[in-house]
Symmetry: C2
Subunit: 150 residues, 2 copies
């Protein structure tokens, strides 16, 4: 899984993890409680092509909204893996009683993700000015995206 996550975390263009994060800290950040972690396998080769986590976005009065993060292996891009994982996560979230999924910090430069999440029924409910420090673009806006389930 680290082989999939490392290049994405190191790039620092999409996820709010330190670009110099260690493997051990990344394991904790991606899989630590209360996160549940899923893996997408290629049905033919058995290769891991993606992973996502699912967790409550807040405690107590906010614990019915979950948060997910998805990463697709570099060599499996463009095959619909992110869509499949997002659909899967919505089912898993609904079955656990979550009423909505929230993405807290979607870099506005990440056109592909924004487009995909919109196609999957997520709305941009807000935009945070300069909330994402992009390695090439500097301080750029980030979206909060949200979808009510079922």
């Amino acid at each position: 899984m680290w082989a999939i996550l490392e290049p994405v975390f190191r790039a620092g263009e999409t996820y709010a993890f330190p670009v110099d994060i260690s493997e051990e800290d990344a394991r904790r950040a991606w899989t630590g409680s209360p996160k549940e972690v899923f893996i997408a396998e290629d049905g033919d080769t058995g290769q891991i092509v993606g992973t996502y986590y699912l967790k409550p976005n807040h405690d107590g009065p906010g614990s019915h909204v979950c948060n997910c993060g998805y990463v697709v292996s570099a060599d499996a891009r463009g095959r619909g893996v992110a869509s499949l994982m997002c659909e899967h996560s919505q089912d898993e979230a609904a079955s656990r009683g979550f009423r909505a999924i929230q993405f807290n910090l979607v870099a506005a430069s990440n056109d592909g993700a924004v487009r995909l999440w919109k196609k999957m029924g997520f709305d941009v409910v807000g935009t945070l000015p300069g909330a994402f420090r992009h390695p090439n673009l500097g301080f750029i806006d980030a979206h909060v995206m949200y979808k009510l389930l079922g």
Copy 2:
């Protein structure tokens, strides 16, 4: 501090902590790393009238935006303690290099807070449908509020 926090957490009307949180878990939640914690004292009596925490809202590419939470003692309400703590937190945040403060989940029913934060220069940048489970009102909207510093 627990005497100030407990009634607010137990009420479950404003903060996303479990209403049945233990004192020990509350200590961890309010003061645990990477949070820094501040206390407001009455200059005359030396009594603690409020507390707030300050922490990065995200890691890495999101670590220049901080998140704060403020609680005022029940018997010190209406004396401007929240305003003073919010002003103080903006100075502390700026001095640590944060570029913005974000509130992730402001219950829309919390008129007093929404009005105060707006007066202090925060914008409602987004509203999350049904994201807050209020003990009396059920699932209500929550605002994401944000202020760029300096």
